[in-house]
Amino acid sequence: MRVTLIDYGAGNVPSVERALQRLGAETERSCSAQDITAAQAIVLPGVGHFSALVRALDQQKIRQPLADAIQEGVPYLGICLGLQALFESSEEAPDLAGLGLLPGRVCSLPCNVKLPHMGWNQVALAGRGSQLLAGSGSSTFFYFAHSYAAPDSNGSTVATCFHGAPFVAVLEKENIFGVQFHPEKSGDAGSRVLENFLRMAMAA
């Protein structure tokens, strides 16, 4: 199984790469339309500002190839900003468009709590179960570092987290997977999530 890691310069690409390789996956770092079009599975690790990510997608001319690949059914895992990028837009950069594969706008977490939401938190299953969270107990902690969060979108939310308000922690919709936390920084619990993604991508 080869995973195409979209490398737009985000700081966490090496650690995501290492975490996938530890699980036996072959990885290629790329930012080219050609590689994305040919990808067997795509992981978009993202950290930082929404504008940095979507601008990079445009500069590298990979916005459309990425959206096409995902719509054609290539298994996709978006991490943190990689999840947020699936939506139409974000309050963090109101003038820029996201990939628009899921409806809605990414919004700021409430300001009555400390932001960024930084550290280890637990998630609650939303009801229909989660493939990514298979094998994770309800008291499992994952590492978060963000100030913005995705809206619930057509029932794609499979788990929520709470910081001042509930927000989307994990979403799954057919071949589209997204986690607001950083599995590559979440110890064994995070490794299990990546392993689940690899297994599903392989079965696809």
């Binding site: 700081g11 090496p14 930082g48 932001l115 939401h117 280890w120 570092a145 979440s186 490794s191």
Partner: protein, 254 residues
Amino acid sequence: MSLARRIIPCLDTDGARVVKGVNFAGLRDAGDPVALAARYNTEGADELVVLDIAASRDRRPTFLETIRRVAAELSIPLTAGGGIRTLEDGRAVVRAGADKITVNTAAVARPELISELSREFGAQAVVLAIDAKRQGDHWDVMVRGGRESASLDALEWARTGVSYGTGEILLTSVDRDGTQCGFDVALTAAISGSVSVPVIASGGAKLAEHFVEIFREGAADAALAASIFHDEVQPIRPLKEFLAANGIEVRLPC
């Protein structure tokens, strides 16, 4: 379900080795950073901080190599710093595998450094390290390894740092550092109450009760210590179990 309070071991290095000592005096070797990092990763540390306390230009490549080797051992977040003066310094540290960058003296001299780093890597990646020392009715910001006063009020500076885009504050009490008589609760509570970002308390920890106190009364979001973890005076797992037994939310890995 709520955000867990974090326990963070800190590796003070001379670039290559972990060292111990107060204010650069009587430094002694305290071990291999890579071996310590691997140990903390499995023992349930929530994050790791690696600092270059020598921060000399010619040792920089050695420190970056240390970050690379430490990062390879970790599946938890890594913060690195010491001597970060420019955006380019920050980039080098992130490229070597750090998730967050700490800035201190250089940010006091030029606060724009914070916004430059924050714009490039996001606020969550920029940690403002403040060394504070009691001065009458307030706390003074100290620079150059805690030896020199910056003639700046610590509360004021913390708020300024946040306005420039820092996502977290690493607050060290110069008065308590190395004393092992407990964190500075008053200082931490004052800073934590006046900023909107998480605060990591540092300096003075020895007993498990000190950690309970800094979370309960100091409103710290995380607590950092060095030698008590390296020497296993306070091993991480039992410390977290003690905190949990005292009603403090912590992550207990399976």
